[in-house]
Symmetry: C2
């Protein structure tokens, strides 16, 4: 059987000399269909491997059961955890996820959103790209809103849109991290900050700064250096910190990668962790448990964020007329490990 062209309902109808309607009803167990007809048609359909064309159904019902997930990257643990959460919540109820990776690029983000709308995607989960953030452009989002396609922000957001959003409590996570350092007895705490402007960077920075203030400690500008979220970007900044006249005795990295970069430099300098320098990261990525010493960090529940985002989406589509957008902020949680545990 050279069945490269998929079998259609019409093919089956021709075979049974009946109308397509009958075949359709037979296949869907419609009660008005004769028992024998039904059996014959179903059996034949199975035999020739009939599979209904969902594309035509999408057109007819204006339902595609597909969702867009637009993220800057999928090469970090956190993002894949979020996707896994979305997947866990949404695949079982029939949704298909279209993953789009923007590489922090505005033009790509715009293109993907347009494409998702063209494909009549029923909802979009978006973590906006870094470039979009900086540029401040957002017309590409207006068309999503205008189309009434549910848009759920994940972590990175525009404040001025009326949408649901799921984020992690970066502020209090950072606050708790720094407070922990202070409790242990560290007094000169530096921060390897993320790129300026991103909510994630700024919130963590704010938690850091506010905590210092609470304990009447100076927020020293030279103790705050930008990084790019990855290991390499932490190397030089850490060197600079350690070569200061009065170097810090603890470093709070904006994420685990950065903290690990710092860890390398500190160890290379012959300083001991945590005795000489305390070190703390953010994300609780799998790697953080297995460095040496293991890294104190702040857990960021990616999987839960994904599931929560899914819940927000479902709320919106199944929504009562009194539906209100929600902003969920999931708590982050301090995970204490060896890199801060002195004495």
């Amino acid at each position: 059987m050279n069945s490269s062209r998929p079998v259609t309902i019409k093919d089956i109808a021709r075979r049974f000399r009946c109308s397509p309607s009958t075949v359709s009803r037979a296949l869907n167990d419609h009660p008005a269909i004769n028992e024998d007809t039904r059996k014959n048609i179903q059996e034949y359909a199975r035999e020739v491997g009939y599979q209904r064309n969902e594309v035509s159904l999408s057109l007819l019902n204006k339902k595609t059961a597909s969702l867009g997930v637009v993220v800057p990257t999928i090469s970090n643990y956190y993002e894949t955890a979020v996707i896994e959460g979305l997947h866990t919540a949404l695949q079982p109820i029939g949704y298909t996820l279209n993953i789009c990776v923007t590489n922090e690029n505005y033009a790509l983000e715009k293109e993907y959103l347009a494409k998702l709308l063209s494909n009549r995607t029923e909802g979009i989960f978006l973590s906006v790209s870094h470039e979009t953030y900086n540029s401040g452009y957002y017309e590409h989002l207006e068309s999503v809103i205008q189309r009434k396609t549910p848009l759920i922000f994940i972590d990175r957001e525009y404040e001025d849109f009326e949408t649901s959003r799921a984020t992690v409590d970066d502020y209090h996570g950072a606050f708790a991290a720094v407070e922990h350092l202070i409790n242990i007895g560290y007094r000169h705490i530096a921060h390897l900050k993320g790129p300026n402007g991103l909510t994630v960077s700024e919130q963590r920075f704010k938690g850091y700064a506010d905590c210092l203030k609470k304990y009447d400690m100076a927020v020293r500008e030279e103790f705050i250096i930008n990084t790019n979220f990855n290991v390499e970007s932490a190397i030089l900044p850490t060197k600079r910190l350690l070569e200061m006249a009065t170097p810090p005795d603890a470093i709070f990295g904006v994420n685990d990668q950065v903290a690990i970069g710092a860890m390398r430099v500190v160890k290379a300098k012959g300083l001991r962790i945590p005795q000489d320098v305390g070190l703390i990261g953010f994300d609780n990525s799998p790697i953080s448990a297995y460095t040496f010493p293991s890294l104190t960090t702040v857990n960021r529940p990616g999987r839960k964020i994904g599931m929560e985002a899914a819940r927000l989406f479902l709320n919106q589509v199944n929504g009562a007329e009194d539906f209100k957008h929600e902003s969920t902020v999931l708590p982050s949680e301090l995970i204490i490990r060896e890199s801060t545990l002195r004495i």
Copy 2:
């Protein structure tokens, strides 16, 4: 404008008192359309945010430009790297990826494949689930083949299908790893194997065993213990190894996770790495560079595999009539780090 229903070509036609055909042609810059008409229609379309319904086009042209990616998990570095590679190669030329995660589950795999076919996906990248492997069922794949939907196997494969496949050279990677251990001077090399039956497990095991044989070393059954690819599954096996009368002086883990699990146990026992015990993993996951000591491993080029799989797919769809299925085996590469570098 309560434009919750997307604007269609018909809407625009009504507005201009012309036929849908004219609007369609105007929007597509058809030369037979009056310049003014074209401009007016295009301008109006932009104004009201018209976006063509790709679903209807898919139905008409029988092209969906969407591809299925069916993988057992997305929570490991390697899998996401593969997906990234696919994405890098295929998104720019207009394909959309539908990621399906089977959780190593046969029923889910079957369901997803059926769904992808129903959605008229134009190609499927598949890394079969563990359960499928064990059960040996593969009718769910037959229907894919029968439909002439290009099917590309990634890493895990059925030998008996006529398809293209992209895999990493696990055998020689494992061989090189063990040879390296022998060269360094380790003599009692244990293997923490993956689950039996999976190609990945068996190939790496074979590389291990063949290398030992080449150097006239015994392949001792008690030195080969199964794990489940994750950290925890390596804990007990490693304990058992170290408590033997003549314990191994080196351990080859089926992947980095397993090697890291072993590392914990070895260090907890007070043994030194690499002096007392050599340790080697597989995958070159990011984490392996940052453990202490850093982990010798075998690089597995996930991103490249993804791009290669994409290439194989494109070959098939753009294929000349003399098209032949290919099996690409990408080389793996030994990455030597501290965990094996004694003396």
